[in-house]
Symmetry: C2
Subunit: 285 residues, 2 copies
Amino acid sequence: MLYIIGLGLADEKDVSVKGLEIIRRAERVYLEAYTAVLLVDQQQLETYYGRPVILADREMVESHSDDILAGAHEQDIALLVVGDPFSATTHTDLALRCRQHEPSIPTRTLPNASILTAVGATGLSLYNFGQTVSMVFFTDDWKPSSFYDRVADNATLGLHTLVLLDIKVKEPDLKAMARGKIIYEPPRFMTVAQCAQQMLEVEEERQQGICGKEALAVGVARLGSEDELIVAGTLEELAQVDMGRPLHSLVLCGKKMHEMEWEYVRGFAVDQKKFDRVWKETNKA
Amino acid sequence: MLYIIGLGLADEKDVSVKGLEIIRRAERVYLEAYTAVLLVDQQQLETYYGRPVILADREMVESHSDDILAGAHEQDIALLVVGDPFSATTHTDLALRCRQHEPSIPTRTLPNASILTAVGATGLSLYNFGQTVSMVFFTDDWKPSSFYDRVADNATLGLHTLVLLDIKVKEPDLKAMARGKIIYEPPRFMTVAQCAQQMLEVEEERQQGICGKEALAVGVARLGSEDELIVAGTLEELAQVDMGRPLHSLVLCGKKMHEMEWEYVRGFAVDQKKFDRVWKETNKA
């Protein structure tokens, strides 16, 4: 059996009791380590779980899944995934391969907390969110702005948008590669400020009033951990905010923000008076 | 400190290790038991946690929260919530009351699995969902159809809609009440078939082609448990399906269903040939 086990968001103790029991008895334990990261390192997991943990990078999961699945007909194999297993399509893909295997490999998924729902900690109602979008690191010549159309779709309906921020782990250093060496760049995690900045940049270009300077947003960092941080403000304000260590996410608020949501969110505002003023103006419009 | 602890979806072992530690040391432990239910009973929780668990009904949480919060300045109080704490707005409301308390009561939330993400087990990508809607039990003279407009909003964008199904626990028997007695009706949980039937009924009335007989949908039951069940088909097919014990939910598929999603979902189809045909026709349109 392949068990795909969600680890939750913060540390080694966010796994479910059931998940921990499986990890402790599984033949091999893999950790998917490229779509998200926990706030603790591999060694801390190994110590707590009492098991060696094999790091599975994108290449291993996507191209060498046979290694992971070896023996899964008779033995229990555990693949640990930060957050909830289904929040990344890779894992559906893996489950599909198990199903199509000859003979097919039974799989079981243990769900856990995901940023998609933990973002409710902002006070914004999960029922008022539209589709989720991703934001990648812009480069000088690559600034993909397809997120803008989806945010605009949500905005038309007055809905909030959760923006998931790019992480780069184990990216090959292209210059070194050209010299025939494989060196990996240090990991990078997009910050709330960088995301807000990129949104302002695209708004500047598209000019549809979707994510301008006065658009209300909420930045979150390290949700679910003891030092989680939530900061609300305009995109212009958030573009200046330092939210500390990863992981960060951002919510662009919809115009339908209900009074009860506002009452909660304003407690996190950089500048409460401004937040209240903009909310009132937006709600009137 | 008030700890609001998500229990996850299925049984007593879906709580996180961290959550279990808090439950075992908290002064008092409450279980919110009206927005969702676990698949195990209170006694099983008490036995496993080794603690008495006080059932908190809607009235207690919404009108007598002072009882729950008594002593929370000095002691740790745990409020257990099925699924993820933020998937019901009641808990934001409670956290807000803690913040406004004099002196304010510190709160901490432990996220967990929610139906909002566990529904990824269907193979449908969580990034292709629009806003979530709720479906209440229709009566002879009360058939609220506001869900239809929101489903239509999602459908316009080609997005899937998660439909959360009504549960009725501790509803007073109105006839007995008229006789001056307080008797509660037995709990009721809406099934996938009932939901599909109600959607067809509203489509009959509204005629916008949003949830007609040939609309593709996926029913899920007891997600996250060992006997979870997923069944895909047209709404007409799902209106006839028996998915067994609660809890059930339904996803109405959007027209943008990607080939990779289709490939996974069709494995759950009542009638795979029909499912493929309808998907192909819908995708062409």
